[in-house]
Subunit: 330 residues, 6 copies
Amino acid sequence: MTKKVITFGEVMMRLSPPGYEKFSQASHFELVYGGGEANVAISCAYLGMKAAHVTRFPDNALGKAATQFLRKHWLSTEHVLYGDQMMGKYFLEKGAVHRPSEVIYEREGSSFSLIEPAMINWEDVLKDADWFHWTGITPAISEGAAKCCLEAIKTANKLGIMVSGDINSRSNMWKYGKSMQQIIPNLAQHCDVIICSSSGMREMFGLEGKFQSLAEQIITLYPKVNKVVKKTRTTLSASHHQIKGKMWNGEEYIKTDKLNITHIIDRVGTGDAFAAGLIYGLLHFDDEQALDFATAACALKHTVPGDVNTVSLENVQSLMEGDTSGAIKR
Amino acid sequence: MTKKVITFGEVMMRLSPPGYEKFSQASHFELVYGGGEANVAISCAYLGMKAAHVTRFPDNALGKAATQFLRKHWLSTEHVLYGDQMMGKYFLEKGAVHRPSEVIYEREGSSFSLIEPAMINWEDVLKDADWFHWTGITPAISEGAAKCCLEAIKTANKLGIMVSGDINSRSNMWKYGKSMQQIIPNLAQHCDVIICSSSGMREMFGLEGKFQSLAEQIITLYPKVNKVVKKTRTTLSASHHQIKGKMWNGEEYIKTDKLNITHIIDRVGTGDAFAAGLIYGLLHFDDEQALDFATAACALKHTVPGDVNTVSLENVQSLMEGDTSGAIKR
Amino acid sequence: MTKKVITFGEVMMRLSPPGYEKFSQASHFELVYGGGEANVAISCAYLGMKAAHVTRFPDNALGKAATQFLRKHWLSTEHVLYGDQMMGKYFLEKGAVHRPSEVIYEREGSSFSLIEPAMINWEDVLKDADWFHWTGITPAISEGAAKCCLEAIKTANKLGIMVSGDINSRSNMWKYGKSMQQIIPNLAQHCDVIICSSSGMREMFGLEGKFQSLAEQIITLYPKVNKVVKKTRTTLSASHHQIKGKMWNGEEYIKTDKLNITHIIDRVGTGDAFAAGLIYGLLHFDDEQALDFATAACALKHTVPGDVNTVSLENVQSLMEGDTSGAIKR
Amino acid sequence: MTKKVITFGEVMMRLSPPGYEKFSQASHFELVYGGGEANVAISCAYLGMKAAHVTRFPDNALGKAATQFLRKHWLSTEHVLYGDQMMGKYFLEKGAVHRPSEVIYEREGSSFSLIEPAMINWEDVLKDADWFHWTGITPAISEGAAKCCLEAIKTANKLGIMVSGDINSRSNMWKYGKSMQQIIPNLAQHCDVIICSSSGMREMFGLEGKFQSLAEQIITLYPKVNKVVKKTRTTLSASHHQIKGKMWNGEEYIKTDKLNITHIIDRVGTGDAFAAGLIYGLLHFDDEQALDFATAACALKHTVPGDVNTVSLENVQSLMEGDTSGAIKR
Amino acid sequence: MTKKVITFGEVMMRLSPPGYEKFSQASHFELVYGGGEANVAISCAYLGMKAAHVTRFPDNALGKAATQFLRKHWLSTEHVLYGDQMMGKYFLEKGAVHRPSEVIYEREGSSFSLIEPAMINWEDVLKDADWFHWTGITPAISEGAAKCCLEAIKTANKLGIMVSGDINSRSNMWKYGKSMQQIIPNLAQHCDVIICSSSGMREMFGLEGKFQSLAEQIITLYPKVNKVVKKTRTTLSASHHQIKGKMWNGEEYIKTDKLNITHIIDRVGTGDAFAAGLIYGLLHFDDEQALDFATAACALKHTVPGDVNTVSLENVQSLMEGDTSGAIKR
Amino acid sequence: MTKKVITFGEVMMRLSPPGYEKFSQASHFELVYGGGEANVAISCAYLGMKAAHVTRFPDNALGKAATQFLRKHWLSTEHVLYGDQMMGKYFLEKGAVHRPSEVIYEREGSSFSLIEPAMINWEDVLKDADWFHWTGITPAISEGAAKCCLEAIKTANKLGIMVSGDINSRSNMWKYGKSMQQIIPNLAQHCDVIICSSSGMREMFGLEGKFQSLAEQIITLYPKVNKVVKKTRTTLSASHHQIKGKMWNGEEYIKTDKLNITHIIDRVGTGDAFAAGLIYGLLHFDDEQALDFATAACALKHTVPGDVNTVSLENVQSLMEGDTSGAIKR
């Protein structure tokens, strides 16, 4: 039976100057859409899963166009809400070598940020799902979004659906009077799988130590959690990264080989590709294979323009099995 | 001596699907900038005047890029302010024949809307100017913007600088607790030249009658005002308009021949081109010529992509003198 | 309850030089997808109906991309089949004034042309539908396609679902050994609504006379049929058409005012927009209004690039009610 | 036997802002090539004739690319010369309605302007040709170009090849010390067919009167000339022209119906399309048909982007026979 | 005397999403043309040789446009045939790093595949040629193509023209009832120069061993063959290859230095660039230089978008002589 | 107080095929503007300085558009002159790996080359400046340009303004009867800072030795000069360079770490970015920091499309301080 994943979070209009133009040079913006959670759902859909995303868009032609993007990329959109008038946005200027990419967000007051728990019937949304995924961005957006997220997680727990949280957040996003330390651990404790950097775990849970130790502490603290996972990134330049996956599953410490991404096309959404690969992997493989699969998916996303990982299952499997050649397929 | 005009108002990022694509079809947005008052300043600059625009942009790379657009189109930008983080925006889908163009605004909470009188030293801004121009959009945006506008007008009066107001407004824009009837007449009374549709005059001043009668009443009511001007537009379709200029100057009722715009390229900013033509005309010609010049400028704008009228003095003069042939210049 | 329409037919990749370039000038092709029946379904979806399309695509990334186009434009695609390797295509060079648009088809041997009745369970497909629509192109493609079409119509009859056929066909398409005279009448007799030009009716049914007489003869011949509809087009040039709708509903002869389309953007798919408007209209209005609605939808399609009519219900209603001004919406 | 035409003249790089952008708005230039005489040759080639063009380009990659443009559009380029370093150029800003198109030339010192008679062996070039065509632009460029042109014409006379001259010139082009009155008549007298406006004939030959009278005087003066032809253009706006062909063949005064070009795509090169149509027509039809054919070709060019008329023989014949509908061809 | 090469084979329309977009993301396709043998001819033409290509295109505007591409890139096209209606095509999605490029062919039933020996008079085609080149793709397409190829080779032999075959083929292309083992050796035996990978030689000739041994066996088997050549490619990733040339000329085993292509722009057609370099090299240099030249040409092709190698003789010579710096030329 | 730099030199229209297309493939040219000295001014402006550029453009719409480019990129343009009709130009074909970029200049007879000393009042231009910068290209263009340059330098000396000269020149540019040895040293002697390669110093001053020795000799010869600076470039391929800065300041020999630019986007103008960084650095830091800053600015320019370095002060400082990671900024 094809597995189904549900995700929840803001989807932004992404506007970027073409190629390597800077904002000061652009005479048009390339238009795609992205958001950490929807990126995960789409990536899962390209791997062959069923996937639906829950979000809220402006009730106008721009909101409709955003939904159309999700539909085009295989998501079910029957749970998309419409209301208010502002589309969340981010502007992306793509860097290279020593020049950083720059991102400017415009998401305050967006339709999504005004979401409220009463707007979503989670029992209905999650009724035939196998997995629910959220990220640490969502509860940072607004109190309403945080509440919706908690309710989703609790409903998933109640229905026996697996829950993963990519709980990394940015402290400068938290502007509605709560800190990430107040909110994130409360959400994280109900998850089966946590994805988080070591520094994130130290910052959010007030813990100390390195990855394995942090992961062990988390699992001890929150018995519902049974896997803690992260992706290590070495940033040699804006054009050249190396990544590696790591997991503590309560029993063994697993890590993958390093993947060397020498000619980056688009770095955005690579963490989401990792999360999606992990979800697919844990649903179809053993832990070690799952981590290899997630890391391969992440690596491949660096070569796909846009926020979302549109590579196929075959592509990921081939890289997961060690074919790094990228040799042409005819 | 080259004359100098100062304008004040919001400049928005304008994002539009290419050609006649609908929002649902766009994979990129064409990027220009526009706003009624800056459009007037730029148009005056292309006609050969000095021109500066006063506005407020986000303090980031997008705000800088907006300023660069104004500089490119010949404006002085030493009075541009930077602060807060949101760029005003509008999305434009271009129509044709029976299909209307559609505009979606996103300007609530923009950097401009948060402007306050204390931010601008109008005596300094206006010190060597010959003309100040404002529109009925600006006081609708926020109380701060309305106050700045009033202060600018009063300072202009004090310095003996001519003031024109294109006082048309849209009642659905007024959201900060004041109505246009409360604010606009108070601004209009200090102007030398008022541009307004007949329906606008009836709605804002509570008057009755047709154009000439309305204009006479305004001039009686507000002795500072000495010309009331409007442009009549017949909308045969989204691709075909006809325009005509009308003026009451306290002494005679002047109207121009009808100009027949059979193949519209971009309808936005045509009213601003009219206002700019009027300012240039009143500074350089007699009233009748000025109105002919304004109407010709307006007609030509319909053939220029973007918000701003970048045609040359020669182009406008040639049409004003009756050459409607558009014959190729080599 | 939202009504649901099902359509069946080939969807082709449409490749066209940008703007008014000729094939000899193109260095890239714009890519959209289209096919008479899917165009109808998409148009209905933009008007607010539920819509699904049944077709068959190559089992490769191009077939998937075609499905993604349908999904983006709101169709349900759960009944899309995949198999074989060739995507049907057409190349479109857009004309203007005296220069005709030129179309080159490449659809022989396409995945759709190899469709067979056993591949589709029509009872399942049609189970919650309100309307089934087919065109005279489909049975011309292959014997398999013709059989599928007949089976769909008969199943619809059995389930009490309304059936419309836009039965115009082109005799030079019929290459598999059957003529349109042998096949079309047999399909048409099971329809509730027939859309056909007068010349088409004369050619396919061997009848004589003008529209009203032809329509009366058809209804007499085929009692299941209760409305015969056509759209009259006056082709003043490639850039300027006039259209009018006509209907015989067994009781009265209805015709609409002429709509004058003075600046055509894309002429392809305008007949499909008419058919979609008719379906929507007959489901929601009386016959006269339905015909007005269909004609307005048809007129608006001439201003939308691509094969499909993506205008909104509001746009069509506004034109149907006589607002031909295309005045900008803010 | 397929007929062969030889033309001689400068080919310029044409750089134009996309669509209706003005020079002040362009961030890229569309690149094609054009020149009155090569335009004629290419048009003849698309109509099915053999055609070669003689010109001189810079000896670098830009000169090669210009030759490649000619080859792509079916010309023989074995007589193209290379030398010096500057490519002739023109910049074209496309107008609409009342806004004129603007052309800026940069051709002084170009490789072509430095051409000298010794560089071309006309006997070799013309050996298997049926027709030689030149225009009044070429002798204006430089003394060398004028001499080459004269030599070509005389050689054609010697070889019994038909010669046509589109002798219109612009007096502001003549900068090398000769006037057009000194040069053009001397070239014109050796032609079989002269294409010239009435005002051109008055200006260059010092004659008086209207077209028919002027034509009669020319033929009396220069017995070699047996047809004088012109095209009348009514410029309603930059987007809407009307044209008509006129001919005096020594015996009768022929004129065509008016063709009404309501939506102009590209006005440049329409005169060259007329000349090419005339050459083709005179080689294949009687005089009246030839003039109809020329006028139809001219009208169609207004709908083709670029300098050159790439429409087919079928297109021209269909319009010549009166089908102005531009109805889609499938 | 400039040398002349003749090639024979299918030329396909190549359609690719821009940049690194995947098929699922494309809203337009970039359009070029390519085919192994025409690529060789064009490359030779850019190096300064005369070159003609023999192929068959649909008898419509698309076939004409394909011919125009060949003409633009300097080929003689007087032997291009037209007939039937389907253009061979391939769709190319460009990969990067670990993501493979993907190619989808649509060439079954193409105009070229329906070619028959009676359509070509090889004596006429080859009469003034110095070299004939074919590849292992052509005989795989259809029996007719294979027969034409054999006839071309035999005619070349008869006329004393050098023959090279790039005999690599793909077994999954052979669908008309013959295997490559049945056809290729029969064609290869009449060649002077064979280009083939070691695995290809093992598969097609049933031989064993490594390159030098295989080459020796071939030359022993087929005395007409006097050189066997291959290019070794190390695929580090889709963005980074290394290549090396190898030759056995019956007397010595020659190999080149490795060329390290660190930033691939377009990998397609690099083998054809090698073959063209080899032909040019063998006609102008000694064997060792020829192999260096071929390898340099191959390396340079990786930096040119499209199928064809448009670099100049100077570029190849400079790299052949060891300048790998790519330093800017002013 | 914000420092102000004045530069003087030609600004050319830069026309380049998109991406990695060769001239033979382009169907449009990307349009920017550049020139060594204006590039320096713009780069200084982006770093936060005031900057004005003195040049001369054609008196037409193209000259105006060039000025608009300078204005957009923050320059003061009140000293731009207009006259004559030819815009200087260069065509740039971008290379990769082993394929060199190719530049074709068209600047003979340009409006700038016809500049004369009487046209510029240098006292007025330089009155509130802190720095004047020139390059060795300007005096090569024409005698008038060389004289203007000398006058500017002398005026700067008189006004106590710092002068830097990037004195590298190309001997093949000197066509007006003077050699660079005759002119450059005479200009260089009045400079405070000289930027020159070692080979340049040997060639222009007739000196011998390596950088430090050459620099010492220069400073001994010309006491006004107090710093000699150069940038060393290792060209591994067209896509991969390494750079290092070197300075002799009369007291110590300073050199920077090597910066490794692994994925070049646009190599043009990198020397100008170095010069601008040096000017900014010397005005704000000590010599060692200034050289680090210059080298960082140079490195970053390799990642920015176009001639001009539009990176921010923050970007340069971050790299100068050793952050080579290019990690994304949110």
